[in-house]
């Protein structure tokens, strides 16, 4: 099974682990992730305004590039996934954006959202299958009580992201079960960590992260996993009161598959 792979900027710098473990685990699962040639930064936030075209072009380029290679596109960073998936939706459904983006890019074949964008977790669920994954685990993480932290970007808006039930998601819990650990459900797993506001309003982000950690600890989680470098930062480096170890989910995946 071969996919085009979009790592994104942060995975090349501060979140190298997220990327490296992700690649190793994919290899162990028999999946080839081909990094897109010459990808550009997705912009990290989805430009919501209807008249923002230029800021969407880098995502369109990545999408076109995957299409031309004939591959589905796998993302790993939540923010990149959010941006690329929604821009792809615009290219499918918003005639104005589609026309303008195509006019600007002057492609040989105009792009209308043909590329299928899936997140690494969706790949595990829908392509590999959690039952299959379970069979390939050599080092089950028995006894570990792990809370899944979803954050915002993967789930919302659910009409566009089509990722999981936005209010009661289960994909990461199913993942945790597959790698042999025990998922801990807690109600704030889909609440915001504070996001980019951490840059200018640290206290606000801290408050948000603390609430999440508190909720997870109360339900008995001993560690958290996430798919987002910014969530990682807010929960790990930026929180004040409650401390829980936070990992990228790919790290645990690699560990379970014996390729860490």
């Amino acid at each position: 099974m071969k996919f085009s792979y979009y790592p994104g900027c942060t995975l090349k710098t501060k979140a190298k682990d997220l990327d490296a473990y992700g690649r190793r685990a994919a290899e162990a699962l028999g999946i080839t992730l081909e990094e897109l040639p010459e990808w550009q930064c997705c912009g990290a936030v989805y430009p919501m305004a209807k008249d923002e075209i230029a800021t969407k072009l880098s995502s369109v380029r990545a999408l076109v590039s995957a299409r031309d290679l004939g591959n589905d596109l796998v993302t790993l960073c939540s923010a990149c996934h959010h941006v690329i998936k929604r821009v792809n939706g615009d290219m499918q459904n918003d005639e104005n954006i589609r026309t303008k983006a195509n006019n600007y890019l002057q492609l040989e074949t105009p792009y209308a959202g043909e590329t299928k964008v899936i997140h690494y977790l969706e790949m595990l669920r829908d392509v590999v299958g959690f039952d299959e994954l379970k069979k390939k685990v050599v080092n089950p993480l028995k006894g570990r009580k792990i809370g899944a932290y979803y954050g915002c970007m993967l789930l919302r808006p659910s009409k566009e992201m089509q990722f999981d039930n936005p209010e009661n998601p289960t994909i990461i819990e199913d993942f945790i079960k597959a790698i042999g650990a025990t998922p801990v459900l807690y109600p704030f797993r889909n609440e915001c960590c504070g996001g980019y506001v951490t840059l200018s309003k640290k206290e606000l982000a801290q408050k948000k992260a603390d609430v999440i950690l508190e909720s997870a600890m109360e339900q008995g989680a001993e560690e958290l996993i996430t798919a987002c470098p910014l969530c990682m930062y807010n929960l790990d480096a930026n929180s004040t009161a409650h401390k829980l170890p936070v990992h990228y989910f790919t790290e645990l995946l690699a560990e379970a598959l014996g390729v860490k």
Binding site: T13, C41, A49, G195, D236
Partner: protein, 130 residues
Amino acid sequence: MPATEKELAETIRRISGVDTRKCMKCGKCSGTCPAFGEMDIHPHKFVSMVEKGEIDELMQSKSLWTCLSCFACVERCPRNVEPARLIEAVRLAVIRRQGENYLKADQIPELLDEKLPQQAITSAFRKYSK
């Protein structure tokens, strides 16, 4: 020539793509917003003020810079109103004006710490400046 408030309101509605008339004023957005406490104009009021065309006041609002873009209001709105899009549109109306950037490049270094991911800087730049 600077745009009149009425023209501005029209622009906000156009670039946000939001039909504020669909709002039934239930307040679920404000019941849901994780940044509510840090906002001066709360999501439900934001929608109502766009509806009424009170854009000048919104452009001064703290809420523009505290919205986390978490899309909880969008997700839970029973009428598909999407308040986050309105906040983004007003924010754009501010930063698209010459010299009105909320965050300037030379302010960045002092805000950084070694663990902060690039993603945060890029996001903040996209959200706060043009």
